[in-house]
Each structure stands twice: as C-alpha cells, then as structure tokens.
Symmetry: C2
Subunit: 110 residues, 2 copies
Amino acid sequence: MGLTKSEIFTEGQNRIATIAKALGHPARVAIVQHLFKAESCICGELVSEIGLAQPTISQHLKELKQVGLIKGNIEGTSVCYCIDVHAWESIKEVLIGFLDQDVAPGDLCC
Amino acid sequence: MGLTKSEIFTEGQNRIATIAKALGHPARVAIVQHLFKAESCICGELVSEIGLAQPTISQHLKELKQVGLIKGNIEGTSVCYCIDVHAWESIKEVLIGFLDQDVAPGDLCC
DNA sequence: TTGGTATATCGCAATAATACGATTAAATTA
DNA sequence: TAATTTAATCGTATTATTGCGATATACCAA
C-alpha cells in the first residue's frame, strides 16, 4: 500500500503516466516553459525566476532529467539546462496519441 | 512543506499541472482508455478489467471526476462512467498547446 | 592556496497519494 | 420486507512528494 502497482499495467500506460506525472507539478511546468523560451537555462536563473529555494529547484530539475525531458551541461561553475528536443518529440507523440482518442460510437450512457 | 506552492505560479501553469497530475497514474490512464473504447463504462467492469480493488478504482474515478475528465450516471444499482467529451477537448487543447512549444533559436548551450 | 560562486546532495518535517478491508448507502430482486 | 447487488465512504497503513536548511562538491578567481 502506498505503492503504485505498475506491474499490472501495460508498458504504454506506465509510460504515459510517468510522463504526465513529471509534468504534474507547476514548478516543473514553469521550468519547461522557461527552457523553451531559452532566455536563460542556468539553474540559478530558474531559482530567481521561480520563487522556490535552490535545493527545491535542483530536485525538480533532477526529476525532469530522470524522465529524459531535459539535459544539463556543466559550464564552469554553473549548469545549463535545456530541453532534450529529441526526447520532447517522442513524449509529444506519446501524449498526443493518448489525447487524440475518439469516443467509440457504442453504448454512450451519459 | 509537503505542500505545493500553487500561489507562486500562473493559472495556466497550475491548470496544466493539475491535468497532468490526474493522468499521472497508470490506473487512471487505463480507466480513460477503457472509457474511450466504451466496451463498458460500469464501475464494476473497470474493477475486474483493471486488477485493483473496488475502493481503489472508486477513488481513482473520483479524482478523474474532480478534474472534470469523466462524468458518472447512476443506472439502477450500478454507475456508468463516461468521458466528458466537451471537457476532454478543452484539456486536449491545453496540453497540446503546452506540448507544441518550439525551442527558441537563442543560446542553445546543450 | 584561499575565498567566492554555483549546484548537488543529505536529512528532515509536513503533507499527499496509493491501496484496501470494513462499512455504509441506495437500488433492485425475491 | 428481507436479501442481494453495486458503488461510495471511512479508517488506516504504507510509501511518495514537496520544500528547505545545512552541508558537500566542484570550479573559478585573486
């Protein structure tokens, strides 16, 4: 209990859920939007832009990186984070495939 | 702590995150997929289809309903759940708008 | 080498999410 | 009415998430 039973779902269902979960926090949405604007991709800039503490931002960046949405590049003392464009395309495909379902013309009861 | 600081984010960011969070569990993904196929939308069918206990499914259905993704219709002793097609279109628009961002041709450092 | 800067990690507190047994509520059926 | 069926809710155990202060690490500059 308290633990998602991933093993009873398909790989596709788990993948959709994992991606959605990574985007299921406003800070991570804000980070992704900021990286797309690419005004700056330095961690410290994200900290001052978004109003959360540095360790918190760092943790969110880690989660986005684990799912593969972003990648980081060390530049001296700072780290530049960017959208992984290739991965983003793949994720887009997965999510849009899920979103584009059409209701079957079967027994609609409501 | 342990509490998301929604107030420091925009309405749009919170909306994207809320929707994504609702889809951030494989059981809820499976429920939505099943309702789209519309083979059956009765709660009990979802329970036997997905391998989770009835209270657990009921709880996931409640979450999907709170976000407005699905709606339920009482039919005798059972309840028929369906995708809220109107809401789904709106959600699709929000998420696709987010997914369709293009990388700014600025200072790509990675 | 010493000091400053930037980021990651650790540890912790508080809250949320997941799952399910037990129970309740409501409608149907016998 | 009594028994059955179906789903929601309650209570609770377990794990996950969120957030941040303190600290560690790594690099640069003087």
